[in-house]
Assembly symmetry: C2
């Protein structure tokens, strides 16, 4: 969606490494915003973005007007399985349908061999992989680790909505996930206890927590005793700004 | 779906004319059958089909096992606009979702420049064109006129379900559409009257009519006074066999 930061640039550096022709799409996708969300205020900085992309020697920036992608009202959409209504999907109804539909359209327009997504939007990456498999797209999906500020806050265009005090507090979301990981490494198996403890602690500090969930990495379903690959997902609001983050652990 | 007749062969001849490499897909698609429909008894004649296709000098026959297209339960589907719940979609719930999803999968596997569909499945052709437009598939859709038996019956694999008497009566569906067209050419503007008259006549003769509808060719919505391009769609059952047909008219 543009307003590029080092997280996006990491995607592009990976693309340059794996592909001999790199297309960057920049499009603030109205389909994935609810009416009460920040579509109109979402930061749009195309000129600055293009300067950064020129430095990275990108071949094409595809930044279409809305009328190009939606010449008529989009009435054909991607119908997703129930995982799309959990976690992010529960708190942002229609979000993943909007994401999957625009990604499918961009796939068909750009026809990439490889497409690259960040792990910060962990559930999104999961759903895009599902879509590529189940709809037989001839596209290899690569992921990129989340890029963080020095204090651990995951980079996000929405971080600029934060005032100074909020920005300082924001890194506590990452700290929360690290605490859970440490408890799991220390042998804690009661994941709902960890989720609830984290939620309570965030709430005490003034966050409005949407979810903190300890999940199987590959299915995003609850962790079974023998599961080795775990991910902790979280979403919470600080003031009016909604932040998400996640950490993986291989126990 | 295979069990090839001259209608299918007309599609392939058109493909050979427009493309230098022709792939024929043959797959009886479980997604588009309701539980009470004829999925298990649908005629499968792959060896005979391949002989016909060899004569036509087709490059590839893609006839995958179900496990190839559905290694896991298909949980990502194409969500279609309300037109998909009318006419065929009203009497075959989920039919167009199943069709659109398999066609999308085949598009991604085969990656054709051109795809060819018959006009006999008129609403299907309409929905596939919509899908290609709205999901930005880089594919040109070509259509082929319905091929008919000498008495006017549209060729269909399901015609072989008919016994001798039913086969004789079956051509009356096409006759019904021709009668409507003649009335329109003669100046009749009361389309519901024509629809009802046709339905009554078919019912008197023992047909169970699903619908007879006079529509705008391009939108499949009711005809406005100034519309020039009209199509009449019909679906009706004779015994247990469900037949569909349509005629276009440019008035």
């Amino acid at each position: 969606m543009g307003n590029l930061h080092d997280g996006h640039l990491a995607l592009i550096r990976k693309a340059k490494k794996y592909a001999d022709f790199v297309v960057v799409s920049i499009f603030v996708n109205p389909l994935q915003f609810s009416p009460n969300e920040d579509f109109s205020q979402y930061p749009r900085t195309l000129n600055a973005d293009c300067k950064l992309l020129r430095n990275l020697d990108v071949d094409i920036v595809f930044a279409p007007d809305e009328k190009i992608l939606f010449p008529v009202q989009q009435e054909i959409l991607v119908l997703l399985p129930s995982i799309a209504n959990k976690f992010e999907g529960k708190f942002r109804p229609g979000f993943f349908c909007g994401v999957a539909t625009i990604v499918l359209k961009l796939f068909n327009i750009i026809q990439p061999d490889i497409a690259i997504f960040g792990k910060k939007d962990y559930q999104q990456l999961h759903i895009i992989r599902l879509m590529v498999q189940q709809l037989n797209f001839p596209i290899k999906i690569l992921d990129v680790e989340t890029i963080r500020a020095a204090d651990g806050l995951a980079l996000s265009s929405r971080n600029q909505y934060l005032d100074k005090a909020q920005r300082q507090e924001a890194s506590y979301l990452h700290q929360t996930l690290k605490n859970i990981i440490n408890d799991i490494i220390a042998g804690q198996n009661n994941f709902s206890l960890l989720e609830n403890k984290a939620t309570d602690k965030l709430s005490e500090r003034g966050w409005k927590v949407d979810y903190v969930s300890v999940l199987n990495q590959e299915t995003l379903s609850p962790v079974h005793t023998r599961d080795k690959k775990i991910v902790v997902l979280a979403a919470a609001r600080i003031g009016k700004t909604r932040l998400i983050d996640n950490i993986e652990i291989h126990r």
